[in-house]
């Protein structure tokens, strides 16, 4: 079995309203040091395959077909186990 983590985030130039809201909330808590907040979503996916390369290939396909919207999002894939 191979476990893979996928991190889907908005492209750097895309507006991130949730990140903006969190930034303002952190400022309200007194963290003036916070200059930017970007959000991301992480999926932890377990696959019944033995080969890591095959797992990454499959997850890459999943990202293109469902998990990420290529117009506004980027994704990164990492084998964790």
């Amino acid at each position: 079995m191979v476990t893979v983590e996928v991190r889907v985030s908005l492209k750097p130039k895309a507006l991130d309203p949730e990140g903006e809201t969190v930034k303002r909330a952190l400022h309200r808590l007194g963290y003036e040091e916070v200059s930017d907040v970007r959000t991301a979503k992480v999926y932890r996916i377990e696959l019944d395959v033995d080969d890591e390369e095959e797992a990454v290939e499959l997850v890459d396909e999943m990202c293109r077909r469902l998990l990420a919207n290529p117009v506004v999002e980027d994704y990164e894939i990492e084998v964790v186990e």
Binding site: A14, L15, D16, P17, E18, E20, T21, R65, L66, L67, N69, V71, V72
Partner: protein
């Protein structure tokens, strides 16, 4: 009699008023559960609003990849009309049946409000009873309704509805969610698939506060009658 299929997915919740508006416009509306299919016998298909699959992944993403959407694609390829409202528009965009994408509102809030829309195209199966440039009053209710297109110039001729002021002014002041160029209704190249974030079914009787949405359904029914 014109027969319209109103699709239901887990989490659809604007189906009843959608069917009511269709019937008010003189057609017969039938609910079709996404696992059942059988769309070929209908004259038009409508994907109503809601929160299909809990808006997981992205609003509309999971419903857009369910098997019935292949049927919807074939239905559309035959030139028959498909309308997606609110979550229905998000599903059409996720399925690639209309150009562009919908993402989180500028301001990060769910917005439920009355807005004004300018009709940009009166030559679609859904807008024959409107005049180009006409201003409509129809409500919106969404959190992920900010329309985005990488190259807005390329979708300009597909725009059917745009947020505007009471006199048709397109200005950022009248853009509730930050949609690019105020775009909130677009069609595919052929013009027979329309996605729109505003809810015409919530403005189809004067007791709802506006009757401006009713003509969209009347246009559709008339178009289906040929």
């Amino acid at each position: 009699m014109v027969r319209v299929a109103v699709l239901r997915f887990p989490g659809t919740n604007c189906d009843l008023e959608m069917a009511w508006a269709v019937e008010r416009a003189g057609a017969e509306a039938e609910f079709v559960w996404h696992e059942d299919g059988g769309l070929a016998e209908y004259d038009a298909v409508i994907i109503p609003g809601g929160f299909t699959y809990g808006d997981y992944v992205r609003a509309g993403a999971i419903a857009a990849r369910s098997p019935i959407m292949e049927e919807v694609r074939e239905f559309a390829e035959e030139g028959r009309p498909v309308l997606g409202v609110c979550n229905g528009m998000q599903i059409l965009a996720e399925a690639g049946l209309i150009p562009g994408t919908l993402t989180v509102n500028r301001g990060n809030r769910f917005i439920c409000d009355w807005v004004h829309l300018r009709v940009e195209r009166a030559d679609t199966p859904f807008t024959g009873r409107y005049r180009e440039g006409e201003v409509l009053r129809i409500p919106i209710a969404h959190a992920e309704g900010r329309y985005y297109a990488e190259d807005p110039d390329r979708v300009e001729d597909r725009v059917v509805f745009r947020f505007c002021g009471p006199n048709g002014e397109v200005d950022d002041r009248y853009n509730p969610n930050g949609s690019v160029r105020g775009i909130t209704g677009v069609v595919n190249r052929e013009g027979n698939v329309l996605g729109m974030m505003p809810h015409p079914e919530r403005a189809a009787h004067r007791l709802q506060g506006s009757e401006d949405g009713l003509r969209l359904f009347q246009s559709l029914v008339e178009w289906c009658r040929g």
